[in-house]
């Protein structure tokens, strides 16, 4: 009996070492106390099934613990965009630019920390020195680094297991996304279209770091899709893959999004649709073969990457049970596609846009004339940062609502002449965004199957924080002004808010420890863990 009591005490007192099997990741929605992958589950709903914190008691939330990020090295990094993962009482975060830290999820005390040696001259053209988080698989932690390496660490100690160079940072490649761990492999994409890189999606053996396959997002001459390029433009065509994708284990399909073609704003040098830029790809995760694609913005000239989270949902649509992928795009349209075939099911503008008359029957935008950037400047909505951006939307499967942080902002777009130079910005123009009281933000609730807006909660400025819905009937998010808050998912009415003291640029997540639900939001460089007690 005494031995048993001692064992129970030890189990309560010491967090276990993570053991996150592929099966556990597949069933992550049943693993309520954990948050095992970037968007919570492979379906990327960013929905917490925990309901201890709910509409009736959320106004009693308080800070349980906080953790101050500690930017490493002399790289001028600092913006925090990480989504923490939690498994078996341990929280895994990244700190800018590429540090991995494990914390006791109960107290916030650090267990270990690992920092790569990021060279001073590391390029980050077109994006801040950020990192959005890690992946867990087995007893390993995986992280991408600013200088374009993929690294495997021992989850218990932070000890390095392997380190592979994914691509050459000297020409602009970088890794800022959280990797996606599948069965025996780790999937990553790259940043760098603003430097004119040629984007790709890679799969690496989770045990050895050996590359299993690569899918180039810009086809070479002779490959399918190459007819949408002319001359040598494909070589510097962009199409970076800088946001974590989703996965359907039943269909065994990987969904990954592709960013803008390069150069961003001068499309004269790259005539054609520029596949597979601004597209959603459905890839075979074993081989990297393309099963289907859908291009949201053919021949983009506004930097409207499609690097938003593809959310997988199953629902009856037009009288048929459908496997759907939903995506609120930076170009201001909300899309529903059949995720088995890529068939376009529905699309509608969810935010102000002035560049298209709508979408045709196949979902292709009916582009209005005279909306491209010009040498003199051309006002178009949305701004280059889009109607939304990398920060996550959320889907509540219980209410079939889709929540999205929306940026209400236009830009005057300029075109400029540009020549490619390796390791230099390859933009071909710029913008003068609307600012101050001429711009705003909103959390919007859409009917996920019609795209129709149900409510909105206005924000003072265009946000950089994602949203998370919970089974407690809540929607959590944050603002540039430092607020973190909870809205009533049914009405959009604010139920709780807290001033963090710094701009919120992270996605909310939730977990439970000791049977108590926690909600995590980061303001500035400080991560706050909220709970009822």
């Amino acid at each position: 009996m005494r031995t048993l009591m001692l064992l129970v005490t030890l189990l309560v007192a010491i967090p276990a070492t993570a053991d996150v099997s592929f099966e556990r990741l597949v069933n992550a929605s049943n693993d309520k106390d954990s948050w095992l992958t970037y968007s919570g589950t492979y379906r990327s709903e960013r929905f917490s099934p925990l309901a201890d914190i709910n509409r009736d008691n959320v106004n009693e939330l308080k800070v349980i613990w906080a953790y101050q990020m500690q930017p490493s090295g002399d790289t001028g990094a600092g913006l925090v965009e990480t989504t923490p993962l939690v498994a078996d009482g341990i929280m895994y975060i990244t700190e800018p630019p590429s540090t991995v830290t494990a914390l006791d999820a109960r107290t916030g005390k650090r267990l270990w920390s690992w920092s790569p040696d990021i060279p001073e001259e590391t390029l980050n053209i077109g994006f801040p020195k950020v990192n959005r988080g890690v992946a867990l698989l087995g007893d390993a932690v995986y992280v991408g680094t600013l200088d374009a390496h993929l690294v495997s660490l021992d989850a218990a100690t932070g000890a390095l297991r392997w380190d592979v160079e994914v691509a050459d940072n000297a020409v602009g490649y970088s890794l800022t996304l959280a990797p996606l761990a599948l069965e025996g492999e780790v999937i990553v994409g790259v940043s760098g279209a603003e430097a004119g890189v040629r984007g790709f999606v890679d799969a690496y053996d989770s045990a050895t770091g050996e590359r299993i396959w690569r899918f180039n997002t810009i086809p070479a001459p002779g490959e399918p899709g190459s007819e949408t390029w002319q001359g040598e433009a494909w070589q510097t065509g962009g199409g970076s893959t800088w946001l974590t994708g989703s996965y359907d284990p039943e269909l065994d399909l990987l969904y990954w999004t592709v960013g803008n073609p390069a150069p961003d704003w001068n499309g004269d040098v790259r005539p054609g649709d520029n596949l597979y830029s601004c597209s959603l790809l459905a890839l075979n995760p074993r081989s990297g073969e393309l099963e289907w694609y859908f291009q949201f913005t053919p021949h983009d000239t506004h930097d409207w990457d499609a690097n938003q989270i593809p959310v997988l949902l199953d629902a009856e649509f037009d009288g048929r049970d459908r496997k759907i992928v939903a995506l609120a795009n930076r170009n201001a349209f909300f899309y529903l596609l059949d995720r088995e075939t890529g068939e376009f099911l529905h699309g509608n503008a969810y935010s102000k846009q002035t560049w298209a008359a709508g979408l045709d029957e196949a979902g292709r935008p009916i582009a209005l004339p005279g909306k491209d950037p010009t040498y003199e400047g051309n006002l178009v909505w949305p701004s280059l940062q889009g109607a939304t951006n990398w920060f996550s939307p959320s889907y509540n499967p219980q209410t079939e609502q889709f929540f999205v942080s929306t940026r209400l902002m236009g830009s005057v777009y300029y075109k400029a002449d540009i020549e490619y130079e390796a390791g230099q910005p390859f933009l071909g123009g710029g913008e003068q965004a609307m600012s101050g009281d001429d711009a705003a933000g909103a959390i919007r609730a859409l009917d996920a199957l019609t795209g129709k807006q149900q409510w909105e909660f206005m924000l003072h400025s265009p946000p950089w924080a994602g949203v998370m819905a919970t089974a407690g009937g809540l929607v959590f998010s944050g603002s540039n002004e430092g607020n973190v808050f909870a809205l009533d998912g049914e009405s959009g009415k604010p139920l709780w808010d807290f001033q963090t003291g710094g701009a919120v640029r992270t996605n909310p997540m939730s977990f439970a420890v000791d049977g108590k639900q926690r909600v995590v939001l980061t303001g500035g460089g400080t991560m706050y863990v909220f709970g009822l007690e």
């Binding site: 077109g126 400029a416 933009l427 710029g430 600012s435 101050g436 002004e481 607020n483 808010d497």
Partner: protein, 263 residues
């Protein structure tokens, strides 16, 4: 004006400028061609965040006479080379020392107004400011006055004749020309305890902070407001076109132009 290419407009502007730099500044020897090179580099490396005109966007507005992280030219070059930790401003490693100076020089021109001859007598204007103008009731100069409206201690560094005249005769119109958030936006508020009009000091989705015409600060939760109006194209500053005419107006403008930072 709309048909003049932006780059050409800026080039014309640049030729009219000489940098107001001290003898010790690392920017002191920059020539017009250097500034033009800085403009070109700015468009490639900086305009994505700071806007094609430097008037801000995702990054901060650089068209100011003073920059928070770059109080002097050495600091500005350091910001370009090293970035600003804790913000989105990265180090621009791919610029060499000369190019960084050219960019810094160009950035300094963004917050600079053209030198203009004063239209009147600044000393006489100083008297008008203190007496018939009644300006210290709402403005601070070198620590004296009440801080309801903008501090004017260095207003001559950032505002030229046309803007200053407009501010005095049609302050609402002058205010509407401001980029970004209007620092002195009039708000009207009614709560269960009464109504007030004042100037917005800060705001987020849940609260607003207001300074009333006596300079007193007030804080409100938005959920407590029965009415809340932002009054754009309006200013609490009186219109002085009728009260100050001719020479008096020119003298007051000249005094304001003379208020510059010592270099």
């Amino acid at each position: 004006m709309k048909n003049v290419p932006k780059a050409t407009m800026l080039s014309i502007f640049l030729t009219c400028l000489s940098l107001p730099v001290s003898a010790q500044s690392p920017l002191k020897d920059l020539a017009t061609d250097d500034l033009a090179d800085g403009e070109r580099l700015f468009h490639v490396h900086c305009a994505r965040c700071h806007g094609i005109d430097g008037a801000g966007g995702e990054g901060s507005n650089l068209a100011r006479s003073r920059l928070k992280y770059a109080p002097d030219d050495e600091a500005l070059i350091a910001v370009i080379n090293d970035g600003i930790p804790g913000t989105g401003m990265p180090a621009i490693w791919s610029l060499d020392d000369t190019q960084a100076k050219h960019v810094a020089g160009y950035v300094r021109t963004l917050g600079q107004i053209q030198d203009e001859p004063m239209p009147g007598d600044p000393e006489r204007g100083a008297v008008i400011y203190q007496t018939s103008g009644g300006c210290p009731a709402c403005h601070i100069i070198a620590g004296h006055g009440k801080g309801v409206g903008p501090e004017l201690t260095e207003v001559g560094d950032s505002r030229g004749i046309a803007y200053l005249r407009n501010s005095l005769t049609d302050p609402a119109e002058a205010q509407s020309q401001t980029m970004g958030y209007q620092d002195y936006l009039t708000v009207r508020i009614r709560t269960s305890e009464g109504s007030m009009e004042g100037l917005r000091v800060n705001e987020d989705a849940f609260s607003i902070q207001v300074r009333d015409v006596n300079g007193t600060l007030h804080s409100f939760r938005k959920e407590d407001l029965l009415e809340f109006e932002k009054v754009f194209a309006h200013s609490l500053m009186p219109e002085y076109g009728a009260a100050l005419k001719g020479q008096d107006m020119d003298d007051l403008i000249s005094y304001l132009m003379s208020l510059r930072r010592e270099r």
